[in-house]
C-alpha cells in the first residue's frame, strides 16, 4: 500500500512533513530523541486529533475512512502498551481481529487460524496460554507484533520494535518484518539496523531533513550534524556492507 503524507503537522512536535512511502517497502525513521518520530508514526496511522496536513493510503485520504476501515489497513505497535487485566497471550493477539469482527460476524475458525499464524510468526505459539503479567519486556513486544499481524494490515507501523529485545530476537524480528508482504514504517534507534531498510527518513526537531536510500542519507556529515556523533564507516569484508563505528564528537575549541 502506498502512503503519501502531505505537509503533516501536529503542534510544534511535527512540522510540514511530506513524504511518500512506496508499496511493499520497509521505510525506517531515524532521529535523535524528541525529534518527532513517534508523533509522525501516530499521524501516519491517523491517530492524532486536530492534525495538520493529509495522509493518503493508495490515494484515499485517511479522513474519508472510518476508524474501523483504517484499522483494517494499518496496524500500529506503540512502545510501552501495557495492561493490568489478567489476559493471556492468545487473548492479547485475538484483539487484533477486532476491526474485522462485529456482533453479526463473531470470532470464527478463520480468525483462530490467523491468530495461530501470527503467534507462530513471532515464535510465541508455545506460550499462547501464558499470562501477560508473567512475560518479559521482549516477549510482550513480540505479542504486540503478533497482535498487529493478526490485524492483517497492509501497512505495519512500528515504534522502536527492537527495544527490550535481546540481539537474537532483534535480528529475528527485523528479518520477519523485512519478509512481510506489507508496507512497513518503523522508527529505529540503532543506526546500523536502520541500514537494512529500503529507505530512511531522518527526523530532526519535528522536520524530515533527509529521505532516501540509507547509504545516501546516513552520511558522516549528517550523522555529525543531526546525531552529534563522529561516525567511522567500515566495510564488512564478508559481504561488502557498510557498518558505522560511533565515537564522541571532538570537543569544539
Amino acid at each position: 500500500m502506498r502512503i503519501e503524507a502531505q505537509n503533516l503537522g501536529w503542534r510544534e512536535i511535527v512540522q510540514g512533513v511530506s513524504c511518500e512511502i512506496r508499496p511493499g517497502e520497509t521505510f525506517g525513521l531515524v532521529g535523535p530523541n524528541g525529534s518527532g518520530k513517534s508523533t509522525l508514526l501516530r499521524l501516519l496511522a491517523g491517530l492524532m486529533p486536530r492534525a495538520a496536513g493529509e495522509v493518503r493510503l493508495d490515494g484515499v485520504p485517511l479522513a474519508q475512512l472510518s476508524r474501523r476501515q483504517i484499522a483494517q489497513r494499518v496496524a500500529l505497535v506503540e512502545q510501552f502498551a501495557d495492561t493490568g487485566e489478567a489476559l493471556s497471550v492468545r487473548d492479547a493477539v485475538e484483539l487484533g481481529r477486532t476491526p474485522w469482527l462485529s456482533p453479526l460476524s463473531p470470532f470464527g475458525p478463520e480468525d483462530t487460524q490467523i491468530v495461530e499464524r501470527a503467534l507462530a510468526a513471532v515464535g510465541m505459539e508455545e506460550m499462547a496460554a501464558r499470562a501477560w503479567a508473567t512475560l518479559s519486556g521482549g516477549e510482550r513486544q513480540r505479542v504486540h507484533i503478533a497482535r498487529a499481524l493478526a490485524q492483517e494490515p497492509r501497512v505495519l507501523i512500528l515504534d522502536e520494535p527492537t527495544n527490550h529485545l535481546d540481539i537474537h530476537h532483534q535480528l529475528a524480528l527485523l528479518g520477519l518484518v523485512a519478509g512481510l508482504p506489507v508496507t512497513v514504517v518503523m522508527a529505529l534507534h540503532d543506526l546500523n539496523q536502520a541500514m537494512m531498510c529500503d529507505r530512511l527518513g531522518v527526523m530532526s526537531e519535528g522536520r524530515m531533513v533527509a529521505c532516501g536510500p540509507p547509504a545516501e542519507v546516513l552520511t558522516t556529515d549528517t550523522l555529525a550534524r543531526i546525531f552529534r556523533v563522529r561516525a567511522q564507516p567500515m566495510i564488512d569484508p564478508s559481504d561488502g556492507s557498510t557498518l558505522f563505528r560511533f565515537l564522541p564528537m571532538e570537543p569544539s575549541p
Partner: protein, 346 residues
C-alpha cells in the same frame, strides 16, 4: 467454515448459558420472595403467578397474596435490576478508565445522583418518579464530569482518579446534607437519610417498570460493546488503533452507566460496593474477556443484591437494616482484598 456457520456454531453455547442464567435468576427471585418476616410457601408463588398472569382461579390467602404481589415481588425484582445495573456499571467503568477501583460509588456518580434526586425532592423541581430520575441523572452526570476533569487536572494517574472520586463524593454528599438541612422537616430528613443508605422497603410496581427497562437497555448496550471494551485493555490509544471509535464508545457507555446508576439511586438510594466487588469476583471466575464478564457480572450482581435484600430483612428480627449497610459489610472486606491483590500484581 463461513461466517454464517461460525455464527450458528456460537448460538448453541450462548443460548445454553443464557438459559442457565435465566434459571439461576428465577431461582434467586423465588427464594427472595419467600423468605422474610413472614415466610411464604413456595406453592403460593406458583398459584399467584397462575392467577395474575394466566387468569386461573385459585383460592389464595388474601394477606399472604398481598404481601407477595404488592411488596415482595416488586422489591425482589428491583433488587435484581439494581444489582445487575451496578455490577455492569462497575465493569464498564473499570474497563474505560483502566482502574481496578473504578465503580459508580467510589467515583462519586452515586453521590451526584443522590444530590440530584434530593434537590428535586426538596426544592420541588419537577416531580414524580421520572422527575426524580431526571434530577438524579443530572447530578450523576455532573459528578462524573467534575471527577473526570479533576482527575485529569491532577495528572490522570489511577491514584488521582480515586482521590478525585473521594473529593467528588464528599462534595455531592455535602450538597445533599445542605439541601436536607436547609429545606427538609424532621420527618423528611429521617426518611431521606434512610433512603440514601440504600433502602428497598418503599419499592412498588411503578418502580419495577422503571428499573427493569433501564437496566435491560443498559445490559444490551454493554453486550453490544463487548469487543470495544476488550480493546480498551491496552489503553484508549491501542483501542483506537484497533479501529474503535474511542470518543463515541466512551460517550455511549458512560451515558448508559450514568443512566443506570441515576435511575437506581433515585429508586433505592445509593448502594455501595456491588459495582466493585462483583466484577472482580467474576473476573476471577470467568476471566477478563467482556463477552463472558458482562453477562456473568449482571447475573451475579442480581443474585447478590437479592441475597443482600434477604439478609437486610432477616438480620435483625422485626427491623429492616438498610441494604447499603449489608452490601458494605460484605463489600468492604472484598475491597480490601482487591487492594492487596493489586499491590501484589504491581
Amino acid at each position: 467454515m463461513t461466517r454464517r456457520a461460525a455464527l450458528s456454531a456460537l448460538a448453541v453455547p450462548v443460548l445454553a448459558h443464557a438459559g442457565l442464567g435465566a434459571v439461576l435468576l428465577a431461582l434467586a427471585v423465588l427464594v427472595g420472595v419467600t423468605i422474610g418476616e413472614v415466610a411464604l410457601p413456595l406453592g403460593l408463588v406458583g398459584d399467584l403467578l397462575a392467577v395474575k398472569l394466566l387468569g386461573a382461579e385459585r383460592a389464595l390467602d388474601p394477606i399472604d397474596a398481598g404481601i407477595l404481589w404488592s411488596y415482595r415481588l416488586p422489591r425482589t425484582l428491583v433488587a435484581a435490576a439494581c444489582g445487575a445495573g451496578l455490577a455492569l456499571s462497575g465493569v464498564v467503568l473499570q474497563a474505560l478508565v483502566r482502574n481496578a477501583l473504578a465503580d459508580p460509588y467510589l467515583l462519586g456518580v452515586s453521590a451526584g445522583a443522590g444530590a440530584g434526586a434530593v434537590a428535586v425532592t426538596l426544592l420541588g423541581l419537577g416531580g414524580g418518579a421520572i422527575g426524580l430520575s431526571a434530577g438524579a441523572f443530572g447530578g450523576a452526570a455532573s459528578a462524573f464530569l467534575i471527577v473526570a476533569l479533576l482527575a485529569k487536572a491532577a495528572g490522570g494517574g489511577p491514584a488521582q482518579l480515586v482521590l478525585a472520586g473521594i473529593a467528588g463524593s464528599q462534595l455531592f454528599n455535602a450538597l445533599t446534607s445542605f439541601f436536607i438541612a436547609k429545606s427538609a422537616n424532621a420527618e423528611q430528613a429521617r426518611g431521606l437519610m434512610f433512603w440514601l443508605l440504600g433502602n428497598l422497603s418503599g419499592v412498588r410496581w411503578p418502580d419495577v417498570s422503571l428499573a427493569l427497562p433501564v437496566v435491560g437497555l443498559g445490559f444490551l448496550v454493554c453486550l453490544a460493546h463487548v469487543r470495544p471494551l476488550d480493546a480498551f485493555s491496552f489503553g484508549s490509544g491501542a483501542a483506537a488503533s484497533l479501529g474503535i471509535a474511542v470518543r463515541r464508545v466512551q460517550l455511549v457507555l458512560i451515558a448508559a452507566v450514568t443512566l443506570m446508576t441515576a435511575t437506581l439511586v433515585s429508586l433505592v438510594g445509593s448502594i455501595g460496593f456491588v459495582g466493585l466487588v462483583i466484577p472482580h469476583a467474576m473476573r476471577f471466575l470467568v476471566g477478563p474477556r467482556h463477552a463472558r464478564l458482562i453477562p456473568a457480572s449482571a447475573l451475579a450482581g442480581a443474585v447478590f443484591l437479592i441475597a443482600a435484600d434477604i439478609a437486610s430483612r432477616v438480620l435483625i428480627p422485626g427491623q429492616v437494616v438498610p441494604i447499603g449497610v449489608v452490601t458494605a459489610l460484605v463489600g468492604a472486606p472484598g475491597f480490601a482484598l482487591i487492594l492487596i491483590r493489586n499491590r501484589r500484581r504491581s
